[in-house]
């Protein structure tokens, strides 16, 4: 890093970082045992929440420069926010991390390939639903045309980091462009209307994981929801916000608020923990944008995860049946740590007849997916995943249930990596619930 760059970053740290929040950390260390990177780095304080906060504060105080090591420490953070619920001082680490990353990325020369990847993905892809469709379409072509087989055989894949190689094998077969373009906009409940909800479809969920979105809609219908799906909605902006592209994130947030503002619904439903947590935080994201905070907070107050609304509508009391199998649940970090939704998915799973729910050890610990972390910090991500797979195997489960697309892919990746594709499957909770519901109705 150049001196001028460091000085710029330091100055902006002094101007923009929330110093009261930094001081709020009393360095008690209560967060250490919950931090996956602290544990996996062999207890290195530089990779702990307490250490990261101290580094941010030291940059503001002028005690150290924001050098490569400082950046490294922040890059290694999963952003899983497991450090927050355990912090008795109530430090909002997520906000601090976002502020710090934003400053660093804004001031960095785009030299690294990582930066290029980010830029391509964040500016060119996620904000544009049609481009997502096009890309996903290409992926579909790649999978269906035989190119995939050629690529795998040629050894080209071997040149990518392990996580990327594996990712390529576990991506689901994607839907055709036609399917992705013709989405329903308004759906009626199966029986009487209990709630009117809007559905936040999410960019990844509405392309690569389209069937899961369809399943979500069906569950909501069975549970008694009238559903609206505003067409003008956009990507939630989480990947941008977590990777220091705050302006982009803000623009997306405004688009979403506008898209949902006139829907007059009880809730806005998400089925991706990562998106939900970011949507809930729009009030904070837009706090400095004139005229937006109240609108943002109103929007945020309506966000609800699918599990949570299903429990409220007593879907767990419906007949849900699976054939004898052991299932386990891997928390979505943001669903658990930010939206505080962790009882509901378990309650739903426990209500399935024929399935034995087993809690895996440290189910609440991050799987290492964390946005694009598994691609840019492959080594640490794989180390964290190895631990997760160890616990999955110990739980003896046939089905690992997740609540976020990133986690789902990561768990699939772990299964592939362990060579267990025949023994274990990873599913999104809504797909499993739909399977269980339809099973029972078939009988």
């Amino acid at each position: 890093m150049k001196t001028a760059e460091k000085q710029r970053i330091q100055q902006q740290f002094q101007e923009k970082m929330d110093y009261d929040e930094l001081l709020n950390c009393m360095r008690c260390g209560f967060c250490l045992p919950s931090c996956p990177t602290y544990i996996e780095s062999g207890k290195d304080e530089a990779h702990s929440p307490r250490g990261r906060i101290a580094l941010m504060k030291a940059v503001v105080d002028g005690d150290i420069e924001p050098d490569e090591e400082v950046k490294r420490s922040l890059d290694m953070c999963l952003g899983c926010r497991a450090c927050e619920p355990v912090c008795p001082s109530g430090v909002n680490y997520g906000h601090l991390l976002e502020q710090a990353r934003d400053i660093i990325y804004q001031n960095q020369q785009p030299s690294l390939p990582v930066k290029a990847l980010r830029k391509a993905a964040f500016k060119g892809l996620f904000p544009h639903h049609n481009r997502m469709i096009a890309l996903t379409g290409m992926l579909g072509f790649y999978q269906r045309s035989g190119l995939q087989t050629i690529a795998r055989k040629s050894g080209v894949m071997k040149m990518l980091p392990e996580s990327m190689q594996l990712m390529e094998t576990v991506l689901p077969s994607v839907p055709t462009s036609k399917l992705m373009k013709n989405r329903p906009r308004h759906l009626q409940p199966a029986a009487t209307t209990k709630k009117k909800v809007a559905f936040f479809s999410g960019c990844l969920m509405d392309t690569v994981f389209l069937p899961t979105n369809d399943a979500t809609a069906k569950l909501l219908q069975y549970a008694g929801c009238e559903i609206v799906i505003p067409e003008t909605q956009a990507c939630c902006g989480a990947l941008h916000g977590h990777s220091g592209e705050k302006q982009q994130a803000k623009a997306l947030a405004k688009r979403n608020i506008e898209a949902f503002e006139d829907t007059e619904v009880d809730y806005i439903i998400t089925n991706a923990g990562g998106c939900g947590a970011f949507l809930v935080d729009y009030g904070h994201l837009l706090k400095d944008e004139e005229g937006w905070q109240t609108r943002a907070e109103k929007f945020a107050s309506k966000i609800k995860d699918i599990s949570s609304v299903l429990i409220e509508l007593e879907f767990h009391k419906q007949n849900l049946v699976l054939e004898n199998e052991v299932i386990t649940y891997q928390d979505s970090c943001h669903l658990k740590n930010v939206q505080k939704t962790f009882m509901e998915p378990r309650q739903l799973l426990e209500s399935i007849e024929g399935a034995a729910y087993v809690e895996m050890k440290d189910a609440g610990r991050c799987c290492g997916s964390a946005g694009i972390y598994n691609l840019v910090e492959s080594e640490m991500s794989m180390q964290i995943l190895d631990y997760k797979m160890k616990q999955t195997k110990a739980a003896n489960a046939k089905t690992v249930v997740t609540a976020n697309p990133g986690c789902l892919l990561q768990m699939k990746l772990g299964i592939e990596k362990e060579g267990l594709t025949k023994q274990i499957r990873a599913v999104h909770i809504v797909d499993l619930l739909l399977e269980a519901y339809e099973n029972s109705n078939k009988q």
Binding site: D20, N24, R27, F30, S48, A54, L55, E65, E69, P88
Partner: protein
């Protein structure tokens, strides 16, 4: 600064991956849980075994480099801040339980083992290791031994010291010695084991410890007593002890503390009362029933407005967890939280609580009090803002008066957090000059070059300083 040559020597001993001296790594090891204290080390070294520890110590001794052993850095007395630079020594590779001996009821462990993990390991075998500092989820056994930590169960079961039977120590000259052992009785020479417990890393480095275990008590019950009047609660504490009942736990929380703890833990603590006592008794079912009845009676006689017994172990654990979070939860209220641990004989607890409140008013500072009331160990905690200089001066004066009051009541300046750099300027209040020189003599005998955790325990000057950064 370490010379290139010394760096090479150290790296050769521990391997390059166990030596760090980047600015960022220096910074993250420059502080512990003590507010307002920070000092940069020159390097961080993580030896892989005791032989490497000894090698590192020899190297430091030869070049007169300060050596600061560090557990999890949760101490509250600036015990691990490298006041004079040098090397921070980590025990991340010495993190194994060596043996649980079910015949002799002992556990032998390396210092880097986490306290809670150790407790769980022995409980899995139906045995009991009582010292349970509130930080046990994070702290290491090596840190506990060196601070002689106490915990919620200290009233009945004592503190860490009461469980340390033997130690393996690397002395400041690099020699490795063993003290004590799995022996119920041992009078061969001076009791070095006891000397090293609570020595705050100033005499040597502990590389292994043998700890005493006891059988798991049959059952346990938890009572919560609420008060409209702080004095009544404090009086209850003295009365329970005077009635010859020794509960496992007897914790005191005042209203401001209850409020923040409830806000953090959300378990339905009543926030309208002025004080509350958390009382636990364990033992045989019969004794526990009787004691809990007697204790409830004493609470009632002393104006408790409500007394309730926890219905399930989960409820009881929620109460204990809430109590353990008291300190950090208080930190929510103000930017700077300064916690003290003045301790008095338990008969004096009511007087001490009263005095603390008067002193807080006199200096116009906000002090919340909670603590292990049963063993006379209170934690008056000051909520302030280090940026407010005039207030900080008043805080300092208030604490000095609190220390003096504790000593006047036959107490001490610190019950369990240690002296470190923070309380070194006050040590004379408790020991007097002659006491301090006796201790300095001991230090000199073990560590003639003053390389072990220098700047701790003994103040250079008598300049008082609770809170001002070095």
């Amino acid at each position: 600064m370490l010379t290139k040559e010394i760096k090479q020597q150290l790296t050769a001993i521990v391997g390059p991956e166990n030596f760090a001296d980047s600015k960022a790594s220096q910074l993250v090891y420059s502080f512990d849980a003590t507010p307002q204290f920070q000092a940069m080390p020159d390097a961080i070294v993580s030896p892989r075994n005791k032989v490497e520890v000894a090698e590192v110590v020899k190297c430091c001794s030869q070049h007169r480099i300060p050596l600061v052993p560090r557990g999890s850095g949760t101490n509250l007395s600036a015990g691990t801040t490298p006041q004079q630079g040098g090397i921070v020594l980590l025990f991340k590779h010495l993190d194994q339980i060596v043996e649980i001996d079910e015949e002799n009821l002992t556990i032998t462990t390396q210092p880097g083992v986490n306290t809670l993990e150790l407790i769980e390991a022995v409980e899995a075998k139906g045995l009991f290791y009582p010292p349970d500092p509130s930080s046990m989820k994070i702290s290491q056994i090596g840190g506990n031994i060196n601070e002689n930590s106490g915990g919620l169960r200290g009233l009945k079961y004592g503190v860490t010291r009461d469980y340390v039977m033997g130690l393996e120590i690397v002395l400041p000259n690099g020699e490795i010695i063993r003290t004590g052992g799995k022996l119920a009785k041992d009078v061969a020479g001076y009791d070095l084991t006891r000397l090293f417990v609570g020595s705050e890393g100033t005499l040597g480095i502990i590389t292994e410890a043998t700890l005493k275990l006891i059988p798991m008590p049959e059952t346990k019950k938890t009572v919560l007593a609420l008060y409209e009047d702080i004095d009544a609660a404090a009086r209850t504490v003295s009365k329970i002890i005077a009635s010859r009942i020794i509960p496992t736990t007897l914790e005191f929380l005042d209203q401001p503390t209850i409020k923040v703890v409830e806000e953090f833990s959300n378990i339905g603590l009543p926030t309208h009362v002025k004080a509350m006592l958390l009382i636990e008794q364990d033992g045989s079912t019969q004794t526990v029933e009787k004691d809990i009845e007697d204790i409830s009676e004493i609470c009632r006689e002393n104006e408790a407005i409500e007394i309730s017994v926890a219905k399930t172990e989960a409820d009881a654990e929620a109460l204990r967890t809430a109590r353990r979070s008291a300190l950090s939860a208080l930190a929510r209220l103000k930017p700077t939280t300064i916690l003290e641990d003045a301790t008095v004989p338990r008969s004096e607890i009511a007087k001490m609580v009263k005095a603390i409140n008067q002193i807080a008013r006199k200096y116009d500072v906000e002090i919340c009090t909670f603590g292990h009331a049963g063993d006379g160990n209170l934690h008056p905690t000051c909520l302030t803002d280090a940026r407010n200089k005039p207030e900080m001066e008043r805080v300092e004066q208030a604490f000095e008066e609190i220390f003096q009051t504790a000593v006047d009541l036959g107490g001490t300046i610190t019950g369990e957090h240690g002296v470190g750099a923070m309380k070194a300027p006050y040590l004379h209040l408790k020991l007097g000059e002659a006491g301090i020189s006796a201790m300095q003599g001991v230090k000199q005998a073990f560590d003639p070059y003053n390389i072990m955790n220098p700047g701790k325990m003994f103040a250079k000057s008598s300049r008082k300083r609770v809170v001002v950064s070095p």
